[in-house]
């Protein structure tokens, strides 16, 4: 509870409400982005392991019998095909991770601006921290 002299008497105006709502939306989006990025990074690790395995296989009789998961079945493909597919997938995921990181930075910047506005208006009466 705030002491009487810490109380803030500014009324909540419509634009303040809009700012608060926008902050809440950005926060939700931020958490979603962080979750998505984590799962993409797990996928990337898996692909990394897969390409390492492919390289270690070397050439020989085995070079023509890599099982590639397509849909829910496995297709026999050559080592080069498999490596190509891996590399394309890595590129795609890496692009997604990069764009998510960019979006996250934008959100954090906008949140900082909203924080200055709202703390300026309401001081201690409002709590905009995450934990």
């Amino acid at each position: 509870m705030l002491a009487p002299d810490e109380e803030n008497n500014s009324e909540v105006r419509r634009e303040d409400q809009d700012n608060i709502n926008r902050f809440a939306r950005l926060n939700a989006r931020l958490h979603a982005i962080r979750g998505e990025r984590q799962s993409l990074q797990k996928d990337l690790e898996g692909l990394d392991d897969a390409s390492t395995e492919l390289m270690m296989m070397g050439s020989g009789a085995d070079g023509d019998k890599v099982m590639l998961l397509a849909g829910e079945a496995f297709l026999e493909v050559s080592e080069e095909d498999a490596t190509e597919v891996c590399e394309k997938q890595v590129e795609k995921l890496q692009d997604q991770v990069n764009s998510l990181t960019e979006e996250e930075e934008g959100i954090v910047g906008e949140q900082a601006k909203l924080k200055t506005i709202l703390y300026g208006r309401f001081g201690k009466s409002i709590n905009l921290e995450d934990k």
Binding site: R25, A28, G71, E72, F74, L75
Partner: protein, 215 residues
């Protein structure tokens, strides 16, 4: 029953015992809807003025009660939307997998590398069977449409069909996401309204106490 009728027919605090107790329906604290019929929480510019618009003036308890009812309904709707979003989130990658399989088949058909290939498909849980695929001559795939129905498509038809489904699923997901954001906004607005009404009441009681002790 659509959401708006469900919310509008709920009334809070209806007592008929001869005294003139104000009834606050959810229509009093909402204004308008979004595109899919979810009501928008009213933003109250001045709590005191708003409570005097009722005859007799609405007590803080009534206002807070109505707000919290509204918030519960919003939270229910939020949970529903989150379920829907989760379901769609699983559907889109599945469609993507099927699409990539059809594209691979199309590619292999065009490539001069090999005319046939071996594939291992899932026969039952944890059991895979071997199959020889005729890349050159095969032109069709069978797609599972649900309800024990499977339909044969050519590669191109399958691509079109699956892409269409994928577009629809993505659009539904976008709708669900935007509805979710909208509902969260309304929850925040009602929470803020609730605390403002509470604070206004606390200040009012404090002022009346001060004026009675000073007189």
């Amino acid at each position: 029953m659509s959401t708006e009728t469900a919310l509008a027919t709920a009334k809070a605090g209806e007592i008929d015992d001869g005294k003139d107790v104000p009834n606050m329906s959810l229509l009093d604290i909402t204004e308008g809807d979004n595109e899919r019929g979810i009501p928008k929480a009213k933003f109250i510019d001045d709590v005191e003025a708003f409570s005097s618009t009722f005859e007799p003036p609405a007590s803080p308890e009534l206002l807070i009660g109505a707000c919290s009812d509204l918030m519960n309904k919003y939270r229910n709707y939020e949970a529903q939307l989150q379920q829907r979003q989760l379901r769609l989130k699983q559907k889109v990658p599945e469609l993507e997998k099927s699409l990539s399989l059809v594209r691979t088949l199309l590619e292999k058909q065009g490539s001069p590398d090999s005319t046939t290939g071996m594939a291992r498909y899932s026969l039952a849980d944890n059991i895979f069977a071997q199959a020889e695929l005729d890349y050159e001559n095969n032109n069709t795939v069978n797609l599972w449409l649900g309800a024990n129905v499977m339909l044969e498509f050519t590669y191109q038809e399958a691509l079109d069909f699956l892409s269409q489904n994928q577009e629809r699923a993505k659009k539904e997901m976008e709708d669900a996401i935007s509805d979710l954001a909208f509902v969260r906004d309304q929850i925040v607005t009602s929470e803020v309204t609730m605390s403002r009404v509470f604070n206004w009441d606390v200040r009012r009681k404090r002022n009346t106490k001060e004026s009675t002790t000073s007189s």
